[in-house]
């Protein structure tokens, strides 16, 4: 069945640069996006390889509490005498993992809601958008706090909670794209040749709706990292897993006497969010060349 369907609209005619290729070239020629990408690559590398390379356990007490940065350890120690740099390297794993996983959950729920609403329209659209509207009346951070308080301070709960509270904007975006695309010629052609709804949604429309969704997913990673930090800052972090947010939350009370215990983890969150938003913006510019002049 699928052999007879016009599937080539997702790719490009031979000899002409594909939209994806053009977008990629535009992205790579944008110094801001590249800068963001470099920040993210460095952070991910530091989180993955850093703990082994540095060789200090982030939970080990290596010296006196509140040693200022300078000599040894280079970034000082926290309120228990743990190495701040080791915490940053180890904590990056949890913070980045929460960021990427929550963003994935956000996109999966958001695209599911948005694509079904936009594709089917009518009663399905009304119902799905009512649910979306409902979730948008709950302040996201507050809702996430309630979920983590009720269901336990565990990294998995945090990750799912952030995903659950963050999806509505993605759903709206996906819905708008599906509404726009479903009336276009190539979708009509595929429909006329007898394609099932699932095939139309997955194989025909979704690939064409992907670019703006990818942009929002990139930005969702940054938001999720911010949320993990905020939850841990309020004392809702997983106490058994080192993360940037946990470092901030645990050392918060001593910020006035030992600024370095909160400055460095906060700076790490800042860099990660900055990286994702630079990459997201550059993506956005690459897929909307019209806006590049702005």
């Amino acid at each position: 069945m699928s052999a007879s369907l016009p599937t080539t609209q997702t790719g490009a005619p031979q000899g002409v640069a594909s939209p994806a290729g053009t977008a990629l070239r535009l992205f790579l020629s944008n110094p801001i996006g590249l800068g963001g990408l470099i920040i993210l690559v460095v952070l991910v590398f530091a989180a993955l390889a850093g703990p082994q390379l540095y060789g200090v356990d982030s939970l080990d007490i290596v010296g006196m509490p509140f040693q200022p940065p300078g000599d040894d350890p280079i970034l000082g120690t926290d309120y228990l005498g743990r190495d701040i740099l080791a915490g940053l390297l180890q904590g990056g794993r949890a913070s980045l993992a929460v960021g990427f996983t929550s963003a994935l959950i956000t996109v999966v729920i958001g695209v599911a809601f948005g694509s079904l609403a936009g594709f089917f329209g009518g009663a399905a659209d009304t119902l799905l958008m009512k649910i979306t509207e409902f979730f948008q009346t709950l302040p996201t951070l507050l809702f996430a706090m309630v979920l983590v308080t009720l269901f336990g301070q565990h990294l998995v709960v945090t990750t799912i909670a952030i995903g659950i509270v963050s999806w509505p904007p993605t759903a709206r975006l996906a819905r708008a794209e599906f509404l726009r695309l479903r009336g276009l010629e190539f979708v009509k052609a595929a429909r006329a040749s007898g394609a099932a709804p699932a095939y139309l949604i997955w194989r025909v429309i979704l690939p064409n709706a992907a670019p703006p969704i990818v942009v929002s997913a990139t930005l969702a990673v940054g938001t999720a990292i911010l949320f993990e930090g905020a939850l841990s800052f309020l004392g809702l972090g997983d106490p058994n897993v080192m993360s940037w947010g946990l470092m901030l939350g645990q050392n918060r009370a001593y910020a006035l006497d030992a600024w370095w215990t909160v400055m460095f983890p906060g700076a790490a969150i800042f860099l990660a969010v900055l990286g994702t938003s630079l990459v997201g913006d550059a993506f956005n510019d690459a897929i909307n060349p019209r806006l590049r002049k702005r």
Partner: protein
């Protein structure tokens, strides 16, 4: 009077929508109480609220926890409908009282931050839009990107450190100086001094967003046909920019402000925690610490109510700014 009938129909639809949303929030709260690990009575009583066996038995009776789930739901709905959001056994006060007591401090902070963000952010955006490739424009872009990425709790902590040890010219904690016992104007000035750092901290992210948004929509507006027409008519630059372009460029900003009110409210939780501001944020923090679930769920309901009300106001403001919506032609 066709327009009048349409207006009433619209109002009726909106009321149904609002009631539906509020009902949904209550049902959500109910489901959260039911699905949270542990005994629902414990959840309602608050884990560390010091709920004794007698209190728990009382809760079970009050909320009908021995009856079927639909009956329990109706009992719960009935309580909320009468303005009863539950009782905090930790604070030993009804949740509604707790919330209303702390609401003014939070509203003061949120509204001040909002005004600051709209004035400074919007102003920067408008100025930057006049020369899209100018130095100010680039400055706005860079600063807004950076400020947008800075976690509000971190900026707050850094300002706290800066203004308490390095440059102690502003109070960094609380809402008033408890030792001074000011009254009248002195009291207001004291509150104003205490407000500076929390307000600025909360506003920074939004200044960044609004300046960016305002810059983009102002550039759009300045290139629109009606602006060219206004210029061709020989209107002064002030009228063209200030009236024709600005008015249209404000619409996306109003939408954004309305949509983000809830986020700002939640952001206040973090800022209040940093600067010991005695508002709802502190209450949230304390109820998390004490596992005071009724208070936490009450605040969730209350904040949803606020968001819904703000959406309604946004809709009205919209109508005031955009003449196309006002005449009803757009509908």
């Amino acid at each position: 009077m066709k327009g009048g009938a349409a207006l009433w129909a619209r109002a009726a639809r909106q009321i149904v929508n609002i009631v539906g949303l509020l009902l949904a929030v209550v049902v959500l709260n109910f489901l959260l109480i039911q699905t949270a690990p542990g005994d629902p009575a414990q959840v309602i009583g608050g884990e560390m609220g010091g709920a004794s066996p007698e209190v728990l038995a009382q809760i079970r009776a009050q909320y009908g926890l021995d009856r079927s789930l639909p009956e329990q739901l109706f009992t719960y709905l009935g309580k909320v409908a009468h303005g009863d959001l539950g009782y905090s056994f930790y604070f030993n006060q009804p949740v509604t009282t707790l919330i209303l007591d702390r609401l003014p401090a939070t509203m003061l902070l949120v509204v001040a931050a909002l005004v600051l963000a709209v004035v400074v952010g919007g102003g920067m955006g408008v100025l930057a839009a006049r020369k899209p490739d100018g130095a100010l424009s680039r400055f706005v872009s860079v600063v807004s990107t950076a400020a947008h990425a800075a976690p509000v709790f971190w900026t707050g902590l850094m300002l706290l450190v800066l203004f308490s040890s390095v440059w102690p010219i502003l109070p960094v904690a609380g809402m008033v100086d408890p030792a001074a016992q000011y009254s009248g104007l002195d009291h207001a000035l004291d509150v104003a001094r205490h407000m500076v750092l929390p307000t600025v901290t909360l506003a920074i992210v939004y200044i960044a967003q609004y300046s960016r948004l305002m810059r983009a929509s102002m550039i759009d507006a300045l290139h629109a046909d009606y602006v060219r027409t206004a210029r061709a008519k020989g209107l002064s630059e002030r009228v063209v920019v200030g009236k024709h372009a600005l008015r249209n460029a404000l619409i996306p900003l109003v939408t954004m402000v309305g949509m983000q009110f809830g986020q700002m409210f939640a952001g206040a939780v973090l800022v209040e925690t940093v600067f010991s501001w005695p508002g709802l944020g502190r209450l949230v923090f304390d109820s998390i610490l004490r596992r005071d679930y009724p208070t936490l769920l009450g605040i969730l309901f209350f904040s949803a109510l606020l968001v819904i009300l703000v959406n309604l106001v946004t809709d009205l403001v919209y109508r005031l700014i955009d003449p196309r919506i006002r005449t009803g032609r757009a509908a």
